[in-house]
């Protein structure tokens, strides 16, 4: 069932991709193949594969339970939040928080998770800033005067 659903999603996706290719602007210059053919070819093959998967699906994988989905959703939102706070809030604080939360999602113990977060945040900062010379700000720029 999962494979059929997946195949259907890919099928719809490749049809959409095929149609979107129609909007690609074409140049006026010598270009016998053009910018549309290749994407259309790719979406065609993808659709074919999707059909084959729908016709002949594999066995279902074991999907996680509701509780695990919640954990995954939390981890996902933390990562997205991390992506957006890394620059404005500096490296140390968002990294510590994000690493702690993810650590907690893997193994539900609060204290080790927090220690992991703090340790990783400090350790990686030293590694990146000084050993590899990447330009990172430890804390918000406004704190540094």
């Amino acid at each position: 069932m999962s494979d059929r659903l997946f195949g259907l999603v890919v099928l719809i996706g490749s049809v959409a991709y095929f149609l979107a290719a129609a909007n690609i602007p074409t140049g006026f210059l010598v270009d016998p193949v053009g910018p549309k053919l290749f994407p259309r070819l790719v979406s065609g093959i993808a659709a074919l594969c999707a059909l084959l998967i729908i016709i002949q699906p594999d066995n279902d994988p074991e999907w996680p339970m509701a509780m695990t989905w919640l954990r995954l959703a939390i981890a996902l939102s933390v990562l997205v939040a991390y992506a957006y706070t890394l620059k404005p809030l500096g490296f140390l604080i968002p990294t510590a928080v994000a690493a702690s939360v993810i650590s907690y999602q893997i193994q539900s113990r609060v204290v080790p998770a927090i220690l992991t977060g703090i340790g990783l945040s400090a350790g990686l900062f030293l590694l990146f800033k000084f050993a590899l010379g990447l330009s990172l700000f430890p804390v918000p720029r406004s704190w540094m005067g």
């Binding site: 006026f28 210059l29 010598v30 270009d31 000084f130 050993a131 330009s135």
Partner: protein, 327 residues
């Protein structure tokens, strides 16, 4: 285990030096944004101009180079316009490609008047090159062949279709009186050296690029330069290369290397930067860098340069409309 001790020692000392270097550059240093990954022309502009500015004491602190690749320079442009418009400690590398993309509206609606162009202090002259055994002996031979049957001649260049290398060919053909420029065959490959390889291999008949890209192949005798797109003949060892102009094709196309600054900085800051840039242009260090990298002198700083850039942009805009790169 002597090995590991030595290792640690060396690693530690290298790292320690790295730290000191890092600290010394991060104190209130001016910044030069290279809108591309390390290694390209913009990166070279930032690194060499920045280094010389500090070496000749035109600025007080070393200039920190930041690479901000994306959108063919568009990401850096947007960043400067929207977030750093009044940052007086910021310069950004630019070249003919910047002007071309602005003219073709490739920076998502940004226009050339949203920054101030500071100056150019060197230029890579455009050239048309053929393989050594090519039947074409002059620029006009080549252009006549295209006129007779455009499907027989393919050009290779290091920029994408509609980019500066492509436009040079079209400008030359336009001046030679060829109207149907959309019939011209051009393939854009990954960089000038690749374009030369394709031309020597005989897959394309001519290569369009900058002189710095062909110097090695010229000296080894693998290629011939049919024309340089400069006002006058190049100095020194390139003196025997004919210009397009003297062959009756009035095209001047050079890939200048220069800088722009944010729009809202004070006039004092603008003058300070243009003074510093003019000093670099006059320095021996820069002369050396230019020779080493195949650049020809091309110094336009301040208001002069702004006018030049505006002129180039409007010409490219017209041409790009003709070939349909922009509507």
């Amino acid at each position: 285990m002597k090995q590991t001790h030595l290792t640690k020692l060396v690693a530690a000392s290298v790292l320690a030096l790295g730290i000191t270097a890092g600290v010394s550059t991060s104190t209130q240093a001016a910044e030069c944004i290279a809108p591309a990954n390390p290694g390209g022309g913009w990166d070279f502009t930032c690194r060499s101009i920045g280094k010389i500015m500090f070496d000749i004491k035109a600025v007080d602190a070393p200039i920190q180079v930041t690479n901000m690749a994306g959108g063919g320079g568009g990401l850096a442009y947007t960043h400067v316009v929207s977030e750093r418009a009044d940052d007086e400690e910021l310069i950004v590398a630019a070249s003919s490609a910047t002007a071309t993309r602005l003219a073709q509206n490739a920076y998502g609606g940004m226009t050339s008047d949203q920054v101030r162009f500071l100056g150019a202090i060197g230029a890579d002259p455009g050239v048309i090159v053929v393989a050594k055994d090519s039947p074409f002996q002059s620029l006009n031979d080549l252009l006549d062949a295209v006129k007779a049957d455009p499907s027989k001649v393919a050009f290779a260049g290091g920029s994408a279709v509609g980019g500066f290398d492509h436009l040079k060919v079209l400008m030359a053909l336009g001046r030679a009186g060829f109207e149907d420029i959309t019939k011209v065959k051009y393939i854009g490959v990954d960089g000038g050296a690749d374009a030369i390889t394709q031309t020597i291999g005989g897959f394309t008949q001519a290569m369009t690029g900058d002189i710095s890209e062909v110097v090695g192949f010229l000296k080894s005798g693998d290629v011939r330069i049919l024309a340089a797109f400069t006002e006058e003949r190049l100095p020194g060892e390139f003196g025997d290369i004919p210009t397009a102009k003297e062959q009756g094709i009035d095209v001047v196309a050079v890939n200048w290397r220069g800088l722009y600054v944010p729009k809202d900085i004070s006039d004092e800051a603008y003058d300070k930067w243009s003074d510093a840039l003019a000093k670099v242009a006059a320095s021996d260090e820069w002369a050396e860098q230019m020779t080493a990298n195949g650049l020809a002198p091309f110094t336009k700083v301040g208001g002069d340069f702004q006018g030049y850039v505006d002129g180039v942009i409007s010409e490219i805009e017209t041409l790009s409309k003709e070939i349909g790169v922009i509507q």
